[in-house]
């Protein structure tokens, strides 16, 4: 008996292990390597690389591989180009598929936030990156204000990354609705059962007219001079 139990436990463990391997395998294929590039020098250059596993964690901090020296920062403030945008390009590789997504926000927003921003990556059903968004917490800025911000010798990227997976679309909530209907019905039945008032109190609405009719009838027969109680019984 004990032996048998042991065997089944071993089998179970094996199955669990197999499943773990399978899920691990799945997770392996769910691994995505990311490469972040931006265009602060007018051309795209990488500033951070990251490997992530989907379905394990949704918030990450990017570790920058370079900083922005003050001279460059000041140059950016004086940027008089016709392209005043900070563009973030995210290359991703998942399995054999390789592609990139991109977004842009006004350069001065990034300068104002001193390269501190949040990157949101939109991840599709199959684990591919669909889009990217950058937010700094502001939507307007003026370059003149930036000059008044404290000066540093160099500026560090302080970017946090968030993964946003597709939501499962809503389903018609028939289950809860039916439960609710059932509850209501039960409540109705219960309320009927709980009605243990005396018979007279419950049905006085129906009894009263009968009583009235009887009383009136007897009153009329009384007027006729016939014996009140015996009149009906006698005939």
């Amino acid at each position: 008996m004990f032996e048998q139990n042991k065997l089944s436990v071993v089998l179970l463990v094996l199955i669990v292990q197999l499943q773990l391997i399978l899920t691990f395998d799945d997770a392996n294929s769910g691994s995505v390597s990311l490469n972040f590039e931006d265009n602060i020098d007018g051309k795209f250059s990488s500033f951070s690389k990251l490997n992530i596993h989907l379905s394990s964690q949704t918030n990450f901090d990017l570790t920058p591989s370079r900083t922005i020296p003050l001279s460059q920062y000041e140059r950016l403030i004086d940027f008089k180009s016709d392209y005043p945008y900070y563009t973030l390009k995210v290359h991703f590789k998942r399995g054999a598929t390789q592609d990139y997504v991109m977004t842009s926000i006004p350069m001065c927003l990034v300068l104002q936030a001193q390269f501190q921003y949040t990157v949101t990556l939109f991840v599709s059903e199959n684990g591919y990156i669909v889009g990217v968004q950058v937010t700094t917490g502001n939507s307007t800025c003026t370059l003149s204000n930036i000059n008044q911000i404290e000066q540093k010798t160099e500026y560090n990227y302080k970017a946090t990354m968030r993964l946003q997976l597709n939501d499962a679309g809503p389903q018609p909530d028939t289950q809860r609705f039916l439960e609710k209907l059932k509850r209501q019905q039960e409540a109705k039945i219960n309320s009927q059962d709980a009605d243990n008032r005396p018979f007279i109190l419950k049905y006085w609405k129906y009894l009263l007219p009968i009583v009235v009719i009887v009383v009136l009838q007897s009153a009329f027969t009384n007027e006729g001079g016939a014996p009140a109680a015996g009149g009906g019984g006698g005939t």
Binding site: S104, F122, S124, N126, V130, G131, T136, G169, P170
Partner: protein, 898 residues
């Protein structure tokens, strides 16, 4: 019209062939899987048969199926159908005679179907050995009798495109040569004979004009325009045929049809050709090798209809009738008589293929224009004189009209009525609809009567492809608001013959007259996308902006970009790259002093879909107005709407790693390339119909798991506080809060749209077209994603309705009553001058137009409003007050004397 029968919208409704009998016709549809019979007298479907097939997977086959239908010439009541690997026979009175499945081999493709008095013959191509395997099946029970094979030089595709069958002949064209292959009809004769006819150049088309057991006539058309007609006669007691050329001179664009009638001596051949607005016919009798008794007819057409697309000539009770389908979709029936040809029927069938709709306001009347002018002055004196002069002119015109009425009476009544129909009414309820059809015909339709005001046909028209549909950009170049100038509309389309060439046609929507200055056929670039400028340039005209294949933006007519687009607000444009399944956003900044008429676009964002296919996108209506920025809740706090005008809805389809099909719906911000909503629905089937308006989206799809249609409604909210109350920017760091609910729909959906009103104050209704022909108006409140399951007093205060999973449709909300409209493809809604009223125009196979009142008629008096009571009671009150005043004064005087 006597009767009409609308077939299914799916593949079973696609007609493969119609076989005509005396009283009824047998229609084979659904790639040879359905047969049904319709009676001519009343349109009754007498019988319907479905092919019995065990192979259920074949429906999902992506390989284009091939179907052949023939009527057995030796036994006209029997029809043989070959649908891929299924061979079946039906009789004209609705009996399935037999049905067999031919064994499938991947290398064997069934191509030809022939019939004799004893056998049904299937020719299948064996691509391994390049042989045509000919199998004989018994006509009585479908038993395989025997088979033989012959060498075959064509591949499967060529065999389908270049070959035709006729009796026991297979005719194949090979460059300038026509091969006639005789298939033996009995077991003792196994001789396959091949003969050839030489043409002067490459053969384009072989058409069988007439076919009987002993005689046949075919037409061979070469690519140099030469057309030859051959007559085939069967040799006595063999299965072989003799042929000879008929001596007939034909024009290159002419069509031929042959009619046989018992009363006729021999056969008549009709040659028809279209020439501008004229149709020419030549009718002759076929004799041995020549044509005799040639008579010519010609008929003037009311408008240009392009070339002939289909021709049928028939003689019914000694009346010669010609039925034609023209290139513009017109159906014509012409009667040929001794005194000439006469057009007896003309129907614009093109109206059932509408792809773009726009509405224009009607023009102001002269008096309305004067009123507009009256307030146009600047100085006090000029305003005064203007006012006086306009009022004097109004008085004069009033007297003139009175004079006209007395002297001429109602003589010009018709003309005046027609003019009045083109003048804007008091509430701007009547409009003119401009519809563009997929064949290239543009119509101007008056909404009050549904009458066609004008039509224009553009012969070299081809629409643009737009995801899985076709589309023609149609723009308001100049709206009707500028009463001093005529309004203008533009359409942009591709050339039918060279798809890279783009045509622009600008016309006056009231008359259809082309504006030649703004009409061109030669743009020096290949157009990828076209849109309208945000600013009017010259004489209130907007310009068209084109993005070419090199991502360069151009204006037409060429004006500096700085005048066409705003220089203060940057312009963002998105394009879709089909090969990479990616949306790419571009940015365009324009310097105020820049005089360039074209410039390059700069890429700013990119959204890519891997393993998903974008099947449709949906933008909000340009007329969408948001009246209130928030919703007042039950506790008097405000929930602010997230009304991002830059959102588009994107629908994608794909299969996930568990091999489950899914549909994704995204809301994409076209300025930053970020996604504001992403919903995945598993085991769901397209088509997905979307309505995007204000801060909400409603979409419908088919749920394969529960086999029902569902709708999902989502609203986006900023929350209890508003980030910026005056302007919206896509760069605002707002994370919209999404509320969603799903509902079960009682019917399927063909199209949905939301009502539009002038200011957006009126509540919204969803107009839904169903496959059973109804147009249903459903209040958006029923789709509200905030409908709670348990209704609290607070929710009740707010006016929310309790959540029920199913949307109940009241039959009162069917806006077309019993006038059912079928196969609706789109619904167009427009605002009117009355805030309560929205105009609805549904188009598809049928057209339907009506007005709807989503919040009832709150700004109009009811039709049964009693003006008499109000009038008399006002009079009574006035009189009463005078009487009371008199009495009061008498009373006062008396009191004073006391």
């Amino acid at each position: 019209m006597r009767w009409r029968k609308v077939f299914e919208t799916n593949e079973y409704g696609k007609i493969d062939r119609i076989i005509w009998y005396d009283q009824e016709s047998v229609i084979i549809s659904g790639q040879g899987r359905r047969a049904r019979s319709l009676r001519y007298a009343d349109g009754l479907e007498v019988w319907q048969l479905a092919a019995t097939t065990t192979n259920t997977n074949s429906n999902q086959d992506t390989v284009a199926k091939h179907c052949q239908v023939i009527k057995n010439r030796y036994d006209p009541g029997t029809i043989h159908i070959l649908s891929d690997d299924l061979l079946w026979s039906v009789s004209s009175y609705g009996e399935m005679l037999w049905s067999i499945e031919i064994p499938i081999k991947s290398t064997l493709k069934n191509l030809f179907l022939l019939s004799t008095s004893q056998y049904v013959i299937v020719g299948s191509l064996d691509s391994n050995s390049n042989q045509l395997q000919v199998t004989y099946y018994s006509k009585q029970d479908g038993q395989q009798a025997f088979s033989s094979s012959l060498p075959w030089s064509f591949n499967a595709k060529d065999s389908l495109n270049k070959c035709s069958t006729m009796n026991n002949l297979i005719l194949c064209s090979n460059n300038d040569e026509l091969s006639i292959i005789t298939i033996p009809t009995t077991t003792d004769d196994t001789n396959v004979k091949t003969r050839h006819i030489k043409a002067s150049s490459k053969i384009e088309q072989i058409r069988i004009l007439y076919e009987s057991t002993t005689r046949s006539v075919i037409l061979i058309k070469s690519d140099n325009g030469e057309t030859k007609i051959y007559q085939f006669n069967k040799k006595e007691s063999t299965s072989e045929w003799d042929f000879n050329e008929l001596n007939i001179q034909m024009k290159s664009n002419s069509f031929i049809s042959i009619a046989t009638d018992k009363n006729l001596a021999g056969q008549q051949i009709l040659e028809a050709s279209a020439n501008d607005q004229k149709l020419n016919f030549h009718v002759s009798t076929i004799n041995e090798q020549t044509l005799t008794n040639t008579r010519s007819y010609s008929v003037e057409l009311p408008e240009n209809m392009g070339e002939i697309e289909y021709l049928a000539y028939s003689v019914v009770k000694n009346t010669q009738l010609v039925t034609l389908r023209m290139q513009d979709g017109s159906l014509l029936v012409i009667k040929l008589a001794d005194n000439g040809a006469e057009l007896i029927l003309h129907r614009d069938e093109a109206l059932s293929s509408i792809i773009s709709v726009e509405t224009f306001d009607l023009s102001l009347s002269i008096t309305q224009m004067r009123i507009e002018e009256e307030f146009g002055g600047t100085g006090m004196f000029s305003m005064f004189t203007k006012r006086i002069s306009s009022q004097v002119s109004q008085l004069i015109s009033f007297f003139l009209r009175l004079m006209d009425l007395f002297t001429h009476g109602n003589r010009n009544r018709d003309y005046l009525d027609k003019q009045a129909a083109l003048v804007r009414d008091e509430f701007n309820l009547n409009k003119i609809l401009i519809v563009v059809t997929s064949v290239g015909k543009v119509f101007g339709i008056l909404t009050q009567s549904g009458g066609i005001l004008w039509k224009n046909f553009f012969p070299n028209f081809a629409p643009f492809e737009h995801f899985n549909a076709v589309h023609v950009p149609l723009f308001h170049i100049r709206s009707a608001a500028h009463y001093t100038h005529e309004p203008l509309a533009s359409i942009v389309y591709r050339d039918r013959n060279s798809l890279h060439d783009t045509h622009i046609r600008t016309f006056n929507p009231y008359t259809g007259d082309l504006e030649n200055n703004l009409t061109t056929s030669s743009l020096p670039y290949h157009v990828k996308r076209v849109f309208l400028s945000t600013q009017a340039v010259d004489e209130f005209c907007k310009v068209l902006l084109f993005v070419d294949t090199n991502n360069k933006i151009h204006t037409y007519p060429p004006v500096p970009l700085s005048r066409a687009l705003s220089t203060t607000i940057p312009t963002y444009i998105y394009l879709f790259d089909k090969s990479e399944q990616a949306f790419v956003g571009y940015y365009l900044s324009i310097d105020e002093n820049d005089q360039k008429t074209s410039t390059n676009l700069k890429e700013v964002w990119r959204v890519s879909f891997q393993n998903e296919e974008v099947i449709n996108i949906h933008t909000r209506l340009s007329s969408d107005r948001v009246h209130s920025a928030g919703i007042v809740l039950g506790d008097r706090s405000v929930l602010y709407k997230y009304t991002n005008p830059n959102l588009i809805a994107v629908v994608t389809e794909g299969i996930d790693y568990q091999k489950v099909p899914f549909v994704n719906i995204y809301l994409l911000d076209t300025v930053t390339g970020s996604l504001k909503l992403s919903h995945t629905h598993k085991r769901v089937k397209s088509p997905v119909h979307i309505v995007l308006s204000e801060n909400w989206i409603v979409y419908t799809y088919y749920n394969q798991r529960y086999r029902r249609y569902e709708a999902v409604s989502s609203s986006l909210f900023e929350g209890e506080a508003q980030y910026n109350y005056s302007t919206f920017s896509s760069f605002d760091p707002i994370e919209p809060v999404i509320q969603s609910k799903a509902y079960i729909l009682p019917y399927g959906v063909n199209a949905i749209q939301v009502t539009t009103t002038e200011k957006g104050i009126t509540s919204r209704d969803i107009i839904m077209a169903t496959p059973n022909g109804m147009l249903i108006e459903i209040p958006w409140i029923l789709f509200d994603p905030r409908r709670p399951l348990d209704l609290t007093p607070m929710d009740r205060e707010e006016g929310l309705i309790m959540y029920t999973p199913e949307i109940m449709v009241n039959f009162e909300s069917v806006i077309n009553y019993y006038k059912y409209v079928y196969n609706i493809r789109g619904i167009h809604t427009v605002a009117t001058g009355l805030e309560s009223t929205s105009i609805v125009f549904a188009y598809g196979l049928d057209l339907f137009f009506t007005r709807v009142f989503p919040s009832r008629i709150f700004d109009q008096l009811k039709d049964d409003f009693d003006f008499m009571i109000i009038g008399w009671s006002t009079v009574a009150f006035v009189v009463g007050s005078f009487v009371a005043k008199r009495f009061a004064s008498i009373h006062q005087t008396k009191k004073a004397w006391k």
